[in-house]
């Protein structure tokens, strides 16, 4: 029973982490109409940055604080240089351009940090565990991940639903020309959304780094799973991304327990089942 409970906690923690990545993906699509395959590469860069910066400044939290501005700038520059030229183009070209970005970012990662696996130590403050029974305990750090993700999700909700910035962005996703004719430079806001999305993915990579290792190709793996989350939830829906992330978190964790040989397939089978029922995703507009 306790094992089940621990597995459940693990699912939720994984689901929250997935939500951070998937929400950026779904926001960039919902607001800007852009499919960003390079989103997973941002996740990977976040993990490598926190590994590197933690080594330099010897403090995990300072590492995160230093890494986030780097990712914001990187997202902004990529949006201005490349993505900005794609708004009027077919999805096909967006897929290809961001595929090209992945090749570049993956190779940059190899040039900067090599092909080795690294681990990031859990910060000392959070390096404990809570005893659940005499033999089983749950690590504090995993709880910390869940709490931080919840805070970020709440913060996102407030920004999008309650602020002027959020209002402009929502308006821009409905009618771009109208917002522009009201005297607002929507392109600047798109750049902000894109770089915020990049930072969100990187942040997920940063706080996830101590529980998983940091390795080449980690971005590709999370990207595909995030796609599944977004498709299940309905593309463009943040609420959908949340529900989808939780479903996939459960399917993945319990898949590993129940059918260990083909755990990775459980996720995709779940997706197929849900799509049979609702082709546009749970919260998607048909």
């Amino acid at each position: 029973m306790m094992t089940f409970f621990i597995q459940l906690l693990n699912s939720i923690q994984y689901g929250f982490l997935l939500f951070l990545v998937a929400s950026g993906l779904t926001l960039v699509f919902g607001i800007m109409g852009i499919i960003n395959l390079a989103h997973g590469a941002f996740f990977m860069f976040g993990a490598y940055l926190v590994y590197w910066l933690t080594g330099v400044v010897d403090n995990y939290f300072v590492g995160i604080l230093l890494g986030l501005p780097i990712m914001l700038v990187m997202g902004y520059v990529i949006e201005r240089l490349a993505i900005a030229r794609l708004y009027q183009r077919d999805h096909l070209y967006q897929v290809l351009l961001t595929y090209g970005l992945i090749l570049i970012l993956n190779e940059l990662q190899k040039i900067l940090w090599g092909s080795d696996f690294y681990s990031v130590p859990v910060p000392a403050v959070l390096d404990g565990s809570i005893a659940l029974t005499e033999t089983q305990a749950y690590p504090v750090y995993r709880l910390f991940i869940s709490v931080v993700c919840m805070l970020v999700a709440a913060g996102m909700y407030v920004v999008i639903a309650r602020t002027r910035l959020g209002m402009i962005i929502r308006a821009g996703s409905v009618n771009r020309e109208m917002v522009q004719s009201l005297g607002i430079n929507i392109n600047r806001f798109y750049a902000i959304v894109f770089s915020a999305g990049a930072a969100l993915a990187a942040f997920a990579g940063m706080i996830g780094a101590p529980v998983s290792s940091v390795y080449p190709g980690m971005g590709d793996q999370i990207l595909i799973i995030s796609f599944v989350v977004v498709v299940i939830g309905g593309i463009g829906s943040v609420k959908g991304a949340f529900v989808g992330a939780m479903i996939i978190g459960l399917a993945d964790t319990f898949g590993k327990v129940l059918i260990p040989d083909f755990a990775s397939m459980a996720v995709y089978a779940t997706m197929a089942l849900i799509l049979m029922w609702r082709p546009q995703g749970l919260f998607g507009r048909a």
Partner: protein, 339 residues
């Protein structure tokens, strides 16, 4: 494009074909092998072009059929002797057709970005299946020790172990696929799927069950992708999960765009250009992916119509420079005049 410009293109393609026919007699062994690779990717890219360029379905999981056929060949090939091609080829093609039918059944009811993501997710599902299945070599892949034999009774019709014979075998397959697809596109079926690409609602309003048309197109594309995978399995002698991975799917998509979608001959040229570049970049630097990434982005931004677009523009310009200026302006003739 007018008919004279398309005739120029036809001459250009025929001369390229002649070069291809002559190549194994003059090229080095390594490069003959590389050209085989290019032709296999040409077949694969044409099959994806049927989906993207003619049916309007952007699949990001096309490598699934390519890799699956390789695995099917590995499964049916005994370790100690060659399997008969009369058994192996139908097995691989029908197997991939069945997979395409199942995946298509779920996928083609969606469109746009959903279709992109769903095809990607299904391909990954197959990827993980083979990646984790240790009976089939897991992530290392599995060898195909002998090329299938082409015999009739006790007579060997084709010795595919012979480098040159195998080269022509692939070349003939590529030409067969090309003409088959052209016939298909000229048929009533081809007109309907092109109608779907132009306007699916209107095509449905005309009374065509578009779901089934798209599904059939999807299955045909998957089967031809399977043929490419079958040839690659014979050529490379190994199939690994990487063949099904989404990097491979991205590469095929890139080849179609680089060549020029909706032209059939374009994707073949795209395959030649892309494999050549890949080989060249790998020779220059270990960080060849960086160059590839920059190249991909440059093509998207500056060459959206691909190589075929360049050729068409060039042919039109050549045609104009030799044409009497009194001649009526160029007449649109769609893609039908190419090749």
């Amino acid at each position: 494009m007018n008919t004279r410009a398309s005739r120029l293109i036809r001459y250009f393609l025929i001369s390229n074909l002649l070069l291809l026919v002559a190549f194994p007699w003059v090229g080095e062994h390594f490069y003959v092998g590389l050209v085989m690779n290019m032709m296999i990717f040409g077949i694969l890219a044409m099959s994806l072009d049927l989906l993207i360029g003619y049916t309007g379905l952007v699949s990001l999981g096309h490598a699934a059929y390519y890799g699956l056929a390789g695995y099917l060949l590995a499964i049916i090939s005994p370790e100690s002797e060659a399997v008969s091609i009369w058994l192996a080829l139908p097995f691989c093609i029908l197997g991939t057709a069945l997979a395409a039918l199942i995946i298509g059944w779920f996928s083609v009811r969606t469109s746009g970005i959903y279709f992109i993501m769903i095809t990607l997710a299904f391909a990954q599902m197959l990827f993980y299946y083979f990646n984790e299945n240790t009976d089939l070599g897991g992530s290392d892949g599995i060898f195909i020790f002998f090329k299938p034999s082409v015999t009739l009774g006790s007579i060997t019709l084709l010795d595919l172990d012979n480098h040159i014979v195998f080269y022509y075998f692939i070349l003939v397959c590529m030409l067969l696929v090309y003409f088959l697809l052209r016939m298909l596109l000229a048929s009533p079926f081809g007109q309907v799927i092109q109608g779907i690409r132009a306007n699916e609602n209107r095509t449905r309003a005309l009374g065509y069950p578009t779901f089934y048309y798209k599904l059939v197109s999807f299955v045909i594309a998957g089967s031809i992708g399977g043929l490419a995978g079958f040839l690659e399995g014979m050529h490379g002698g190994i199939v690994s999960p990487g063949h099904l991975g989404w990097h491979e799917s991205g590469l095929i998509l890139m080849i179609v765009i680089l060549g020029g979608m909706g032209t059939l001959y374009g994707p073949i040229m795209g395959a030649f250009a892309m494999i050549f570049l890949q080989d060249w970049f790998q020779e220059i630097t270990v960080h060849w992916m960086l160059l590839m990434g920059v190249f991909v982005i440059a093509v998207v931004l500056f060459l959206p119509r691909g190589i075929a677009g360049l050729i068409e523009d060039l042919a039109a310009k050549l045609d104009k420079s030799v044409t009497d200026s009194n001649r009526p302006a160029t007449q649109k003739n769609g893609e039908s005049g190419d090749g």
